[in-house]
């Protein structure tokens, strides 16, 4: 019981923690927006694609002021088709100075389409066309037609079209029931891993839902029943796809982006660092881009660092520091607070508009620095400490002039300090290696230099202890110091000095063999299973004869006993029985040589039933004969 309770509470806790700070993981970058624009700007072939292009581009904020487009729309318009009228009306609405001529027949056709018998798509198209063309329509009729349509067809696309239609109606109409559909539809969204929220019908349906829901909510001025996390999950779903299969898909994404940038209730905020979030002395400013989903910078926003804590020491460096807006980018001079090098966790808040969603962002910022090596001292110390150490100081990047000799009685030692170039603070980078490279044999040995409690690095080489690493090969080794770390801007590879090492028990210097890992290996010969040794044929033949010999013995015995075949009546059933029996024995032989079990069973069934019938007959006759003989014997 208890482990399950613990697990359950852990699960709940993790869920709560996850949902607390949800920020968009997928969003459109400026290149994506440009690509979307390019897709929508493709030359159009018919009225439908013209509608998608013109209206889609207008949603992205780009107006197509083109007389040729207007002429194209007018010439491709089919006044007898509601769909054609819809495309033309909406497109002309987006083009300034483009008017579609409307006749009474057109108006009547559109008004007649508003009824319970038309599909939701037809109702939507006629209402939108009427509204765009400036013709009057009866909102209440539309509402009742929509309600009837929704109750007949309960699928997602119908309801989305109903929402879109309702947003074009008069505000006095009773849109309450249709407004409730938003919540019902939102419940039908599939939550994928807590990151995505989308309809199983796909991306287009999800994007159209977002634009329809916000269009209707803005129209009636009521906040849509979508929680902040749901909005972010919808953003993730809609903007995760960066190339679109069809013009209608691109149009739906553009619509959704526009409604999420410009509605009255929820505006998701996208915060991204410009370039890597890394600061150094040469680049002291942390630059953030704060935009809406269409990648337009939010100039009304004010960006504030709520807290910046070092990840290693958990000490707060900054609190409530504002970013300044410059050229559409928010920047903060973090180096002014003189942070030590390392990683920092920034908690950034974007304020300025109550509509902002996902306006708390966590960022990981790296502060890097340059390292310098101080007090590099090299010395050769005698093991028994009889001779004092001679210390040679070497400055980076020079090399020690004389080479150092160390044999089995001496220890070679090296000490140094690593400090931050600007602040002089001691550093402990992740990689501090000492590499000894024998130029003649190509052998290299790498050791790690460890810092002591005062952050002073020490390296000692005892030739007797380290004999095995060097394979006891004496000679001149070039000594290199390697320093590296993620937060260092200047990793160091420094040839400090040459060291001549002498080992006892030196073996003949053998050239180092390159590892034979990648050379072809000796071929494996497969040994097939040897057949078992058979005994010589003579032996088996002899024994075969021996085993068959008792048969002769049997015949002799039977002859001696006087087993008679005189009672062999030549009645048909007897003959047939014997033939059948012989056939069965013959079948056994054939089974051994040629057939398989199934075939044998088949033949056996045939021969066996024949033999059985004949044998039955024969034995019955014999039985009768026996009983008659018994009776005769009894009577006599």
């Amino acid at each position: 019981m208890y482990p399950f309770e613990g697990l359950f509470s852990l699960l709940v806790l993790s869920l709560v923690l996850e949902t607390q700070a949800l920020t968009p993981t997928h969003h459109l970058t400026t290149t994506d927006v440009a690509r979307l624009q390019a897709v929508l700007s493709q030359p159009f072939t018919d009225l439908k694609s013209a509608y998608y292009s013109v209206v889609g581009l207008s949603k992205l904020g780009i107006s197509v002021a083109d007389a040729a487009t207007c002429r194209f729309i007018k010439s491709n318009l089919d006044p007898s088709s509601v769909e054609s009228l819809f495309f033309a009306a909406e497109a002309s609405q987006a083009l300034p100075g483009c008017e579609i001529p409307v006749s009474n027949d057109t108006r009547d056709l559109l008004l007649a389409t508003v009824s319970e018998d038309s599909t939701a798509s037809q109702i939507h198209q006629s209402v939108s066309a009427l509204s765009s063309l400036g013709l009057p329509l009866a909102s209440q009729e539309v509402v009742s037609a929509l309600k009837a349509r929704i109750s007949k067809e309960d699928n997602v696309l119908t309801i989305i079209l109903a929402l879109q239609t309702a947003s074009r109606l008069s505000q006095q109409a009773e849109l309450g029931e249709i407004l409730e559909e938003i919540e019902d539809l939102a419940a039908r969204l599939d939550d994928l891993g807590g990151v995505y929220l989308q309809f199983e019908e796909g991306l287009e349906a999800t994007a159209l839902f977002v634009s329809a829901a916000y269009a209707l909510s803005d129209h009636v001025d009521m906040e849509p029943p979508l929680k902040e996390d749901q909005v972010i999950q919808l953003v993730n779903s809609i903007f995760s796809k960066k190339s679109w299969d069809s013009l209608s898909e691109a149009f739906s994404v553009a619509s959704a982006a526009e409604s999420l940038s410009n509605n009255r209730f929820h505006v998701p905020v996208i915060v991204s660092a410009q370039g890597p979030a890394a600061i150094s002395h040469s680049q002291p400013f942390l630059r953030l881009q704060v935009t809406n989903v269409l990648c337009k910078p939010l100039s009304s926003a004010s960006v504030l660092v709520e807290s910046a804590t070092a990840t290693s020491s958990k000490s707060a460096i900054l609190s409530q520091a504002p970013f300044t807006l410059r050229d559409g980018v928010f920047e903060l001079n973090f180096m002014a607070s003189q942070p030590a090098s390392g990683y920092y966790q920034f908690s950034v808040a974007i304020a300025g508009d109550s509509r902002f969603v996902a306006n708390h962002v966590e960022l990981k910022v790296k502060v890097s620095t340059r390292v310098s090596i101080n007090n590099m001292d090299l010395s050769v110390v005698d093991k028994d400490q009889s001779i004092g150490p001679k210390t040679t100081r070497v400055e980076y990047p020079a090399k020690a002039k004389a080479s150092f000799m160390a044999d089995s009685h001496q220890i070679f030692a090296m000490t140094f300090q690593l400090v931050d170039e600007t602040t002089g603070v001691e550093l402990t980078p992740h990689q501090t290696f000492v590499r000894l490279h024998n130029q003649k044999t190509g052998q290299e040995v790498v050791f790690v230099a460890e810092p002591d409690s005062k952050n002073l690095y020490k390296f000692e080489l005892d030739t007797t202890e380290r004999k095995t690493e060097f394979d006891s090969i004496s000679g001149t080794y070039a000594l290199y110091l390697m320093v590296g770390d993620a937060t260092l801007e200047n990793p160091i590879l420094w040839n400090v000095a040459d060291v001549v090492l002498k080992f006892l028990d030196e073996e003949a210097p053998s050239t180092i063999q390159a590892k034979t890992l990648y050379t072809p290996k000796p071929e494996i010969q497969h040994l097939f299973r040897e057949p078992e040794k058979k005994p010589p044929t003579v032996v088996s033949n002899a024994f075969t004869a021996l085993v068959l010999s008792p048969f002769l013995l049997l015949l002799i015995l039977w002859f001696k006993l006087g087993a008679n075949i005189s009672n062999f009546t030549l009645s048909p059933s007897t003959v047939l029985f014997h033939i059948g029996h012989a056939a069965m024995l013959g079948l056994m032989y054939v089974y051994w040589t040629h057939l398989n079990m199934f075939q044998t069973l088949k033949y056996l069934a045939i021969i066996g039933s024949f033999t059985f019938l004949a044998g039955n007959r024969m034995l019955a006759q014999k039985a009768v004969k026996r009983l008659v003989d018994n009776l005769a014997a009894k009577l006599l």
Binding site: F551, L554, Y591, L619
Partner: protein, 113 residues
């Protein structure tokens, strides 16, 4: 000691020769034949080895099975046992013997390889 054994054996053989009906003697000869065949097969296996083990098993089981079936036939045919096998006539016993042999041989041939 050996004297009494020899006398028992000779007495047994006499009784056997005189009081056993001919039919049963025929079957007994058959039984002897089967036993010898089985024994010789076993001898071969001991001497030369079990190389085609499945063949050896098949042959040996064939002998053993045949022996058992013949013994059953002998029991059922024996007029002295008539009381216990009222419903089974000698002809019926023989038919059963043949049928069982068919099944046995089917299995043996299958296994002999």
């Amino acid at each position: 000691m050996s004297n009494s054994v020899i006398s028992v054996i000779s007495r047994f053989l006499e009784e056997y020769a005189s009081s056993t009906p001919n039919k049963l003697k025929v079957i007994d000869a058959y039984l002897l034949y089967i036993m010898m065949t089985g024994a010789l097969q076993f001898l071969y296996c001991l001497l030369v080895g079990t190389f085609p083990f499945n063949s050896f098993l098949s042959g040996f089981i064939s002998c053993v099975g045949s022996f058992i079936l013949a013994v059953c036939l002998r029991i059922q045919i024996n007029p002295q046992n008539k009381g216990e096998f009222l419903s089974i006539s000698p002809e019926r016993a023989f038919a059963d013997f043949l049928f069982a042999h068919t099944v046995l041989h089917l299995v043996v041939i299958n296994f002999i390889g």
